[in-house]
C-alpha cells in the first residue's frame, strides 16, 4: 500500500538539560500516534535513539542550553539539517539552571568539583580527549543559532508541545500567549 501523505520528519537533541523536556515530549502519549497518523516520522528522537539526524529534517527540537563545544557543534548541525528549529524548555530558551555556573570561572568551578568536593576521593581532573570542553559561559540556543519557535516552561506542558507541533504540521502559525505561555 502506498502512503499518499507527505512525510514530516521530526528530530530532537538533548544538550545541557535534565531530559525533563523530553519526558514532557513523550507525555503527549496517544497524541504522538495522532501525529504519526498525520505523517510525522520521528527520526533521531527517543524512539529511535539515533544521535545524528538525517539531512532533510523538517522540524528540529532542541532541549537544554549550550554548555560545551560538542553541544555547540550539535546545535549548529541541527540548524543545517532542519528547516524549522524549536527551542524547548527554559534551558534552551533562556539558559536556565545550567547558567548558574556563569557566575564562576571554569577553573574555579572544576577546582571545586574535582579537587575540593567532599564527595570526590580521586582529586583527579578528567582530561580525556573524548570529553568535550566546557565553554566559558553557558548560552541559550538562540545565542548560537537562529531559532524559529520558542516554548519556555520548566518543563513545558505536553499540551503546549502538541499544540505547536500540530499547528506547524497543519500549516498554521502557532501563537504562544495567555495560558499557553508560562515560564514555570
Amino acid at each position: 500500500m502506498k502512503n499518499t501523505k507527505k512525510e514530516i520528519k521530526i528530530s530532537t537533541i538533548w544538550c545541557e538539560g535534565c531530559s525533563g523536556c523530553h519526558m514532557s515530549f513523550l507525555d503527549m502519549d496517544e497524541r504522538l500516534i495522532d501525529l504519526i497518523k498525520k505523517g510525522v516520522v520521528f527520526s533521531a528522537s527517543p524512539f529511535t535513539d539515533l544521535k545524528i539526524p538525517e539531512d532533510d529534517v523538517d522540524i528540529g527540537i532542541i532541549e537544554g542550553s549550550v554548555a560545551t563545544d560538542t553541544q555547540e557543534e550539535e546545535v549548529k548541525m541541527m540548524r543545517e539539517k532542519c528547516k524549522i528549529i524549536i527551542a524547548i524548555g527554559d534551558c534552551a530558551v533562556f539558559g536556565g539552571i545550567p547558567t548558574m555556573r556563569n557566575y564562576y570561572k571554569i577553573d574555579e568551578l572544576s577546582k571545586r568539583v574535582y579537587h575540593e568536593a567532599e564527595s570526590n576521593a580521586n582529586k583527579h581532573y578528567p582530561n580525556s580527549k573524548d570529553i568535550s570542553k566546557l565553554l566559558p559561559r553557558v548560552k541559550a540556543v538562540n545565542e548560537v543559532i537562529k531559532v524559529d519557535y520558542y516554548i519556555p516552561g520548566c518543563p513545558p506542558n505536553a499540551d503546549i508541545i502538541f499544540y505547536i507541533l500540530n499547528e506547524l504540521i497543519e500549516g498554521r502559525e502557532p501563537k504562544l500567549e495567555n495560558e499557553k505561555l508560562t515560564y514555570e
Binding site: G96, N142, V147, Y150, P152, L176
Partner: protein, 566 residues
C-alpha cells in the same frame, strides 16, 4: 479646561482634575490599562521602567511622568507600543537573574505577568551575569539583589510612605544596588520591619520569609489591624482552601494610606500560626471553655447569678459588641486597670497631624508601639522639614532627627522664647493625665494640641460603651472576698502593672485569648475558678473605635472554619 482624546474618545477635564495627576493616572482612572513596573499607588512617579509608553500625536511619551496637556491625542495600545514595551522589558529581564522556575514568588509576580502580557518567549540578548550576595540576615525578610530590576519602589516607599529612610541605592549604571543604611546588612540596619518594601517589590528581590511558595491563588480580604489604637487598613491574604494566612499587606485605599508596622505583618502572622497549631494540641490541664459571641450572653448571666461580690476588670482588647454585652450584664462594677481620658475624642486626624509644624514626642517609642504614627511623624520631619522635639526618648531613629532632646518637662519653658509655634504633643493617655496641667503652665503663648495615644486598641469603645467608668486606684476596690472577673486578650500588660500580685488570693474568672504568652501567665496563677477563651480577632467579625474616633470593622477571615475552632 483642557480637551484630549484617548483611543479616539474625547475627554474634557477641568483644571482642578489636571493638577497633581499625570497622564498615566488619568488613563488608569478612566479604565485604560497601561502596563507599568516602577510606579506603585501614590508613590512619586520616576519614569524608570519605560513600560508605560503611549503615543501622543505620533510621538512616544512615558505616561507616568507626562503631564496632561490640551490637545493630546493618546493611543494606549498598538503593535508598535507593544514592541517598545517588549524591548524595555527584555532589557530588564536579561540584566540579572530572572529565571522564574526557581523563584519563590513565581505565578504571582508582577514582573513575570508583564512578560506574559508582552508575550515575551525568549530574550534577544545574552544575559548579563553579575553576582550579588544573598542577604539572609533579617528575621522576616529575604533580600536577593540578584533579582532586582532597580525600579526603586522599595527605596521610595521606605522614605515617602513609611518614613524610615533605611533603603537607598549605591553605585551607578548596571552596578547599581539597593542597600540598607549605606551598605549594611538588612538585619543589622535600622530597619523596623514594617515590610512595605516587600509588599511593593514587583520581583522576588525582597521576599517575605513566611509566605515563600505559599502565595498561589490566594484570596484577599480587607480588614483593619486591631493590635494598636491606630487601626491601619490591611489586606489579609489566605490560601484558596482557607487553611492558613499567606501574608498580610497594608491597604493603600484606606484612611491610613498604606501605613503598617511589624506588629500585624509579622508578629501577629507568626502568633496566629502558633495559635492555630496549638488548637490541635489538647494537653492543657486548665478548665477551658471556648466561646464565641453568640452564646457569651447566656453564659455570663449564668455566672452572675451565682456570684455575690464581684469586680470586673477589662481593657481595650475587647470589641464593641463584647463591651456592650459586659456593660449590660455587669453594670457599674466595671473597671479598667489604666486610666482613660475622654480627651482622646479630640485627637487630630491623619490629615491634621501632617499640618503641624512642630512635633513633641513624650516618652513613647512610636516605632515599637504605634508604628503608623511614627511613620507619619518621621516622614514629615524629614521630607517636609518640620521640627521634632523629643522628651525622655532613647530611640536613635527619633533622637537623631530631633532639633531638641530634653529630659525634663520643665525644659519646655525654653520654647516660649523661640519662634516656633503650632505644636503637636504626642504622648500616651497616662502621661497626658499627669502632664497636661504642667504643659499648660509651661507653654503660655503658643498654639498646641495633643495627640493622645490610648493604651489599648479599643479605649474609645470603652468610653462609649461602659457607663460610670471608674479610674480610681484599683487596689483600693479589691478585698479578699471579691471574685475578680478579668476580660482581656492580652494578659501580659496586666501582669506588668503587678495587678496579679494584688489579686493572687482572690478567686478569679478569666476571659482571655488562648495563646502561648497568655497560657504561660495563667499557669503561674492560683485560684482560677473558671477560664474562658475569647475568640481570636482574626476569627471574629466585630468592630472597634480607633484613636481618631473612627468605627472600624475586623473581618472573620475563616468564615466556614470558625465553627470548627470550638
Amino acid at each position: 479646561m483642557i480637551n484630549l482624546t484617548i483611543n479616539g474618545k474625547s475627554y474634557n477635564i477641568s483644571q482642578e482634575q489636571v493638577e497633581n495627576r499625570t497622564l498615566w493616572q488619568f488613563l488608569k482612572d478612566n479604565g485604560y490599562y497601561v502596563p507599568i513596573l516602577c510606579n506603585y499607588e501614590n508613590l512619586k512617579p520616576v519614569g524608570r521602567c519605560r513600560l508605560c509608553v503611549v503615543k501622543d500625536r505620533g510621538r512616544i511619551k512615558t505616561s507616568c511622568i507626562a503631564p496632561l496637556e490640551n490637545g493630546m491625542e493618546i493611543i494606549t495600545d498598538d503593535p508598535d507600543l507593544r514592541k517598545y514595551r517588549k524591548w524595555a522589558l527584555q532589557f530588564l529581564f536579561s540584566e540579572r537573574n530572572h529565571y522564574c522556575m526557581y523563584c519563590a514568588i513565581t505565578s504571582h509576580c508582577e514582573f513575570q505577568n508583564l512578560g506574559y502580557y508582552t508575550k515575551l518567549d525568549h530574550f534577544s540578548f545574552p544575559t548579563f551575569f553579575n553576582k550579588y550576595e544573598l542577604d539572609n540576615s533579617h528575621n522576616h525578610i529575604l533580600f536577593d539583589n540578584n533579582r532586582c530590576v532597580l525600579c526603586d519602589r522599595c527605596v521610595r516607599v521606605c522614605s515617602e510612605i513609611a518614613g524610615h529612610f533605611v533603603l537607598e541605592t549605591i553605585n551607578k549604571g548596571i552596578e547599581r544596588l539597593v542597600v540598607a543604611d549605606g551598605g549594611k546588612k538588612l538585619g543589622e540596619s535600622s530597619c523596623v520591619s514594617c515590610g512595605l518594601c516587600v509588599q511593593v517589590c514587583p520581583t522576588g528581590t525582597l521576599l517575605d520569609k513566611y509566605s515563600l511558595y505559599l502565595d498561589k491563588n490566594s484570596i484577599d480580604f480587607n480588614s483593619y489591624c486591631y493590635l494598636c489604637p491606630v487601626g491601619c487598613g490591611i489586606k489579609i491574604y489566605i490560601n484558596k482552601n482557607k487553611d492558613y494566612i499567606v501574608k498580610i499587606h497594608s491597604d493603600f485605599n484606606s484612611f491610613s494610606n498604606g501605613l503598617i508596622c511589624y506588629k500585624i505583618r509579622y508578629q501577629e502572622l507568626l502568633n496566629y500560626r502558633l495559635f492555630k497549631a496549638q488548637q490541635y494540641q489538647q494537653n492543657n490541664k486548665l478548665n477551658e471553655y471556648y466561646l464565641d459571641n453568640n452564646n457569651l450572653k447566656d453564659f455570663l448571666y449564668s455566672i452572675i447569678t451565682n456570684l455575690k461580690d464581684f469586680l470586673v476588670i477589662l481593657d481595650g482588647t475587647l470589641l464593641n459588641q463584647e463591651l456592650k454585652l459586659i456593660n449590660d450584664i455587669f453594670k457599674n462594677n466595671v473597671y479598667t486597670y489604666y486610666p482613660i481620658t475622654k480627651d482622646i475624642l479630640n485627637n487630630p486626624d491623619f490629615k491634621e497631624i501632617e499640618e503641624f509644624q512642630n512635633y513633641i514626642i513624650i516618652n513613647v517609642d512610636l516605632d515599637k508601639d504605634y508604628g503608623a504614627i511614627g511613620s507619619l511623624i518621621k516622614r514629615n520631619v524629614k521630607l517636609k522639614n518640620k521640627n521634632l522635639i523629643t522628651l525622655n526618648l532613647n530611640n536613635p531613629n527619633y533622637t537623631n532627627l530631633s532639633k531638641l532632646n530634653i529630659n525634663n518637662i520643665n525644659d519646655l519653658k525654653k520654647l516660649n522664647d523661640t519662634l516656633y509655634d503650632n505644636f503637636l504633643f504626642i504622648l500616651n493617655a497616662i502621661d497626658y493625665i499627669q502632664l497636661k496641667d504642667d504643659i499648660k503652665d509651661l507653654l503660655t503663648n503658643k498654639n498646641y494640641r495633643f495627640l493622645i495615644l490610648p493604651i489599648k486598641t479599643n479605649d474609645v469603645g470603652i468610653i462609649y460603651f461602659i457607663n460610670n467608668l471608674n479610674t480610681i486606684n484599683l487596689s483600693l476596690k479589691i478585698n479578699d472576698n471579691k471574685t475578680i472577673i478579668i476580660f482581656s486578650r492580652d494578659l501580659k500588660n496586666i501582669k506588668e502593672i503587678n495587678l496579679f500580685k494584688i489579686i493572687q488570693n482572690n478567686s478569679k474568672i478569666i476571659f482571655t485569648l488562648k495563646d502561648y504568652e497568655n497560657l504561660e501567665i495563667l499557669n503561674n496563677l492560683k485560684n482560677i475558678k473558671l477560664l474562658v477563651y475569647l475568640p481570636h480577632l482574626l476569627n471574629f467579625s466585630g468592630n472597634f473605635y480607633n484613636m481618631f474616633n473612627m468605627l472600624l470593622k475586623t473581618e472573620n477571615i475563616f468564615k466556614e472554619l470558625s465553627l470548627k475552632d470550638k
